[in-house]
Symmetry: C2
Subunit: 355 residues, 2 copies
């Protein structure tokens, strides 16, 4: 593509703080192509909970139009209102964006080399228990019903994406995680789809586990390194990736790629932490997770080498981060200082050998 438009969505709470730092790192790495006009940043400001409450929609119409004018999106966390909160009952902006832009693959890597952990999760991102959003039914005062929806196409495309990656990366193993022994109709469909698709990938081994025992297996230090690529329906992906990120240092350290045929969105895995901002500590919010997201964005738009460099720099800074946590992060670096440190590390002449 001649021109790539990167939409930058601040979101709520600490979102604008950390997104600004991630953008700074991207601008640093892409400075040449920005000068050439090949990369264009577009700030999209309106995705705030106040605006969403005012129009009663998870994504205001004008924001959606702006999002659709971009090629890729870097997105800060958004706050999900809840019944009983001060906000009306609106769907999560996150969930709505994944569906509206048809971002069917939520890809989340978790890597802890010293523990032998190198996992990549392919989470189905548009259906399952998330399909109908907040449109469940209060049949009467006593009875509430929600729906889980699984389609053949929706299952096939995410499962294929996982097998393609397993094949290309040489990891050659895909683990399918469902609860098909109980949620037989929808999860059974997902598992059957995986078994059928696996036949087209003779070099890729497939196994399957139930989500309950899978959460235990990730804890098992002796056996968890057997897992490589995992593919899961939406809700199990949500659950298992948070647990997995904890072994890497917490959800604050994991990036998340939301990829569709036409659009792609990259984000932090953690929430908007409104309390931090209310207490005036927004500038101390850790931008590590969204910078990881920015790294995945770089790879997606064709800058794989720069993505790898950023990954390396973040791994090095991660060691420094752990020190910050031990000494009490709040008295430590601001997000801007952390981003500076990442850029310094990126500029280090020995970056390639130092790791």
């Amino acid at each position: 593509k001649e021109k790539i438009i990167i939409g930058v969505v601040g979101g709520d709470g600490i979102g604008p703080f950390i997104t600004a730092e991630a953008k700074r790192v991207l601008a640093f790495l892409l400075s040449e192509d920005i000068k050439k006009g090949r990369i264009i940043f577009k700030e999209i400001d309106g995705l705030t909970i106040e605006n969403r409450a005012a129009c009663g929609k998870a994504i205001p119409d004008d924001v959606l139009a702006e999002l659709k004018s971009c090629d890729v999106i870097l997105k800060g966390p958004t706050t999900t209102p809840r019944e009983g909160d001060q906000w009306p009952n609106i769907e999560s902006a996150n969930v709505a964006m994944r569906r509206e832009l048809d971002l069917f693959a939520n890809v989340r890597p978790v890597s802890v080399p010293e523990k032998g952990i190198d996992w990549t999760f392919y989470r189905e991102n548009t259906e399952g228990a998330y399909a109908i959003g907040s449109k469940g039914i209060h049949v009467n005062e006593d009875l509430a019903i929600d729906f889980t929806v699984t389609t053949q196409e929706g299952s096939d495309r995410i499962i294929k994406a996982a097998f393609d990656y397993a094949e290309k990366s040489g990891k050659n193993k895909v683990t399918v995680v469902t609860k098909a022994n109980v949620i037989k109709t929808t999860d059974g469909k997902f598992l059957d789809a995986a078994k059928a698709i696996a036949k087209n990938y003779p070099t890729v081994e497939m196994d399957d586990w139930y989500i309950d025992i899978m959460t235990a297996k990730l804890v098992d230090e002796k056996r968890r390194s057997q897992f490589k690529v995992m593919v899961l329906p939406n809700l199990y992906g949500d659950i298992l990736t948070d647990e997995a990120a904890e072994f890497q240092g917490g959800v604050g350290t994991a990036g998340s790629a939301n990829i569709g045929k036409q659009y792609a969105m990259f984000e932090a895995v953690h929430g908007s932490a409104p309390r931090m901002v209310a207490e005036g500590r927004g500038q101390y919010a850790d931008p590590c997770s969204i910078i990881r997201g920015a790294g995945m964005l770089l790879g997606h738009i064709g800058y794989q080498e720069k993505a790898d460099q950023l990954q390396k720099a973040l791994d090095i800074c991660g060691l420094y981060e752990k020190k910050l946590v031990l000494t009490g992060r709040d008295t430590g670096a601001t997000g801007a200082e952390y981003a500076d440190y990442v850029m310094e590390t990126l500029s280090h002449p020995n970056l390639d050998e130092s790791y």
Copy 2:
């Protein structure tokens, strides 16, 4: 009650092996009251996958009648057939029994004193994502739908059970785990029910977390001891208790109590391991989990002191068990030898001080 009938259900695979050992331990502890005719064991043999397949029901009618003639049930694991297996598509016997006997509270304690872990999970056991069993809808070849059902009464009774326990035990804290930011209708109802009930327990603190981040929090060694009593909808309870049990040594070490107004059933948390039996290693199956279940049964029918003694003996034997695992369990003790060891430990004159 003058007479207590304990139904003993072997189940499938390793079930009959381990259940026999748990029964032996119970008979040892209750020998006096068995002689007096106060405790009666009733063997219930028909809950096998072959019988279930033959009649096309998760629980054959005659077995259900036998179950209902007991006061409490000790149950070995059962195999759940799956589409594509050699068996027809029948619901899990486990799930069916919980519903047919209205065993609404699935209580699972996980305790690892040296790690500061002392958790008790109250899992809703009859509704949620398990409510309609395998009766989801294949709308057409492309579209499958499952249902999640939450009722006011179903939520209230499990939440009250958790708060009652938190109050009585002096733990004074209940953590509610849902995904109410996305599964707003049913999980929102569950969370609202908890908030309303909490008002009646002024000495019990309540907090709530989403299931995704909760799986990460259990991993966090510094902060997980803050959790005491957790109450969760069915599916999240299924998932989180398997993860939690792993910190104690795996699902093989956790017992599970299924408690209703009229009946109660106690079981192992793990599966039926048909492969072990096929390979002729059934007698090596570890009866630890079902013996923990038997301990919970003892407490339930009024033998709290004996339940505590068994708990202690199992904790001591657990240390021995860990050694077995390290040296390769399969070449280690049989289930019968393990049960013997538990009974020896129970008979030790210093049991009360030794711990």
